[in-house]
């Protein structure tokens, strides 16, 4: 998919996004509110046929950011959906695992390390933390000192 072709396709979901940012030649970021994340990912994965790469969870102090990275393997463009999870007290986001089984581990990992709960996740058990790790302690949050 060429640049302008991809931009044209992305304009179909423009109303679900807070913006379309091209940060480098082959890197597109799609910031959106958390309620739109499933629909945006469904569009990228099922309609545009992009490959799911991985997700990054970030503690951005005032909120959590969940980044779902996709790759368009025709053009090499990395398309990143950036969802803002604004409720710090009980962070929640729709899971994309029912749509993309390959996202199961990375969502479980973010649940472990950042304490973000993924709604509709088929198996939100611990993946990274040990069984005897205390509840409510999340290693990747900024308040945890190394």
């Amino acid at each position: 998919m060429q640049h302008n072709e991809l931009d044209k396709q992305l304009s179909q979901i423009r109303d679900r996004l807070a913006g379309i940012e091209r940060k480098a030649d082959n890197r597109v970021f799609l910031p959106c509110e958390s309620e739109n994340v499933y629909e945006v990912c469904r569009f990228l994965f099922s309609e545009l046929g992009l490959r799911f790469v991985i997700s990054t969870g970030i503690d951005a102090q005032d909120c959590f950011e969940v980044l779902h990275h996709f790759s368009d393997d025709d053009s090499g463009c990395v398309v990143t959906v950036k969802a803002f999870v604004r409720n710090r007290e009980s962070p929640e986001l729709d899971s994309i695992t029912p749509l993309i089984p390959g996202a199961e581990w990375t969502e479980r990992e973010m649940h472990d390390l950042l304490g973000i709960r993924f709604r509709n996740h088929p198996n939100l058990q611990r993946l990274i933390l040990a069984d005897d790790w205390p509840e409510g302690v999340y290693p990747l949050r900024k308040e945890m000192q190394t």
């Binding site: 970030i58 790759s71 190394t146």
Partner: protein
């Protein structure tokens, strides 16, 4: 009244002192057939992502080259590319070629390592000895270039630390000729061997649609007919200037993955030769003073598939977030698709075909919940080798192309 089916649980893992990763596979088996797979990992979590936030941008490459000893060129490369994207830095041409050469040499030695281990698991120990013997000179070349057989520490933001001296070129070319000849022999032996066809074809099949669902990468995807390769789709280093083919096979079985890896060795040899011939003159690094605020995604095609690094900077001298995704992280969960319905004797090989870290296959135990019968790694290896021996007897060793091979 019929008795309820007795289910057994096959535990694979988790601890083995020789491997850098530990994983625990719990296979539910019905007789000889696998009916479910559950994976537990992180027995030896090193917290590298968190640790990276405590290091300066130029220290991180040394940390991430230790994510994996075998992929110790591709991890720092992916990281460095992410940071260069944030800073808008373009490394000099010569550095891009040096990066290409080191990464392709890494692929050659990693693929040979896999071929050897694959042979070991099915009882072809001659293949194991050969492949590992031919791998040695590649490590020697890497040592001559970077100073280390692994963990090269050669890539940095803005270029490379060490250049390839011109007087090393003839030695590299000479060794490549030898490696090519030996790999040709090994490839022919594998492709012509009726026992290997019978043992590997149709085993551990990962269908194309499952490969897409589980988002697998590298030879695991290319063995299932998906011709994806970051070197081709998003050319980094000098890959855009070189003439090479993306190898893919439609079968999805262990045989297809083996063929992909063997043929990729030849493509890598071709690429190193071209890169050496075209190696531009000039410096191998530019100075990078500071990293501005921003975020960047870097990815590189490691021997096992795409390695992906995401880096965010707030303008300070350390990353505020650094996400690392190694290829096995998406390849391993595809066992759910490729192992279910398989024989226990094929599980070792199916797991190995993805080329994860071998901790999983080195220590295994079959736990039968009723009789508490325990089989260990040797037992499973024996099962795998017995199947090869059975096929050999059926075909008759007269057809054997790999002379001198005995189990």
């Amino acid at each position: 009244m019929t008795e309820p089916l007795r289910k057994s649980v096959l535990a694979v893992g988790p601890f083995h002192p020789l491997q850098e990763e530990m994983e625990f596979f719990q296979l539910t088996v019905d007789g000889e057939k696998v009916t479910d797979v559950n994976v537990r990992l992180s027995y030896n979590h090193r917290g590298i992502e968190k640790l990276s936030e405590t290091l300066q941008f130029d220290q991180v490459p040394y940390l991430v080259s230790r994510v994996c000893g075998i992929c110790s060129a591709s991890h720092p490369l992916a990281y460095v590319q992410a940071v260069e994207e944030i800073a808008g830095v373009k490394p000099p041409e010569r550095a891009l070629y040096v990066r290409t050469i080191i990464n392709e040499l890494e692929r050659i030695h990693s693929h040979l390592l896999w071929v050897g281990l694959g042979g070991h698991f099915i009882g072809y120990d001659t293949v194991f000895m050969w492949a590992w013997k031919y791998r040695e000179p590649v490590l020697d070349l890497l040592e001559a270039i970077t100073g280390n057989r692994n963990n090269y520490g050669n890539v940095k933001v803005g270029g490379c630390r060490e250049d390839i001296p011109d007087d090393l070129k003839p030695k590299i070319l000479q060794e490549l000729d030898q490696i090519e000849k030996k790999t040709e022999m090994l490839t022919k032996a594998v492709l012509d061997d009726p026992v290997l066809h019978a043992r590997l074809k149709g085993v551990g099949v990962l269908k194309r649609e499952d490969a897409l669902k589980y988002a697998v990468v590298g030879p695991t995807a290319r063995g299932s007919g998906i011709a994806t390769d970051i070197r081709r789709s998003d050319p980094y280093a000098a890959y855009g200037d070189l003439d090479w083919k993306v190898i893919s096979q439609p079968g999805g079985d262990v045989f297809a993955k083996a063929v992909v890896r063997l043929l990729e060795i030849f493509e890598s040899i071709k690429m190193v030769r071209q890169a050496l011939a075209k190696l531009p003159k000039g410096p191998v690094a530019v100075d990078v003073k500071e990293i501005p605020p921003g975020e960047g995604c870097g990815h590189a095609e490691a021997p096992r598939g795409e390695t992906f690094h995401y880096v965010r900077s707030d303008g300070g001298n350390r990353p505020i977030r650094h996400k690392i995704r190694a290829p096995s992280y998406v390849n391993v969960p595809s066992f759910k698709a490729s192992c279910i319905g398989a024989d226990i004797a094929d599980v070792t090989l199916t797991l190995a075909a993805v080329d994860p870290c071998y901790s999983c296959t080195e220590r295994m135990a079959v736990v039968d919940s009723h009789n508490m019968v325990t089989h260990d790694h040797e037992e499973l290896l024996r099962l795998s080798r017995e199947k090869t021996a059975r096929i050999m007897r059926e075909i008759g060793t007269a057809h054997l192309k790999l002379e001198g091979l005995r189990i």
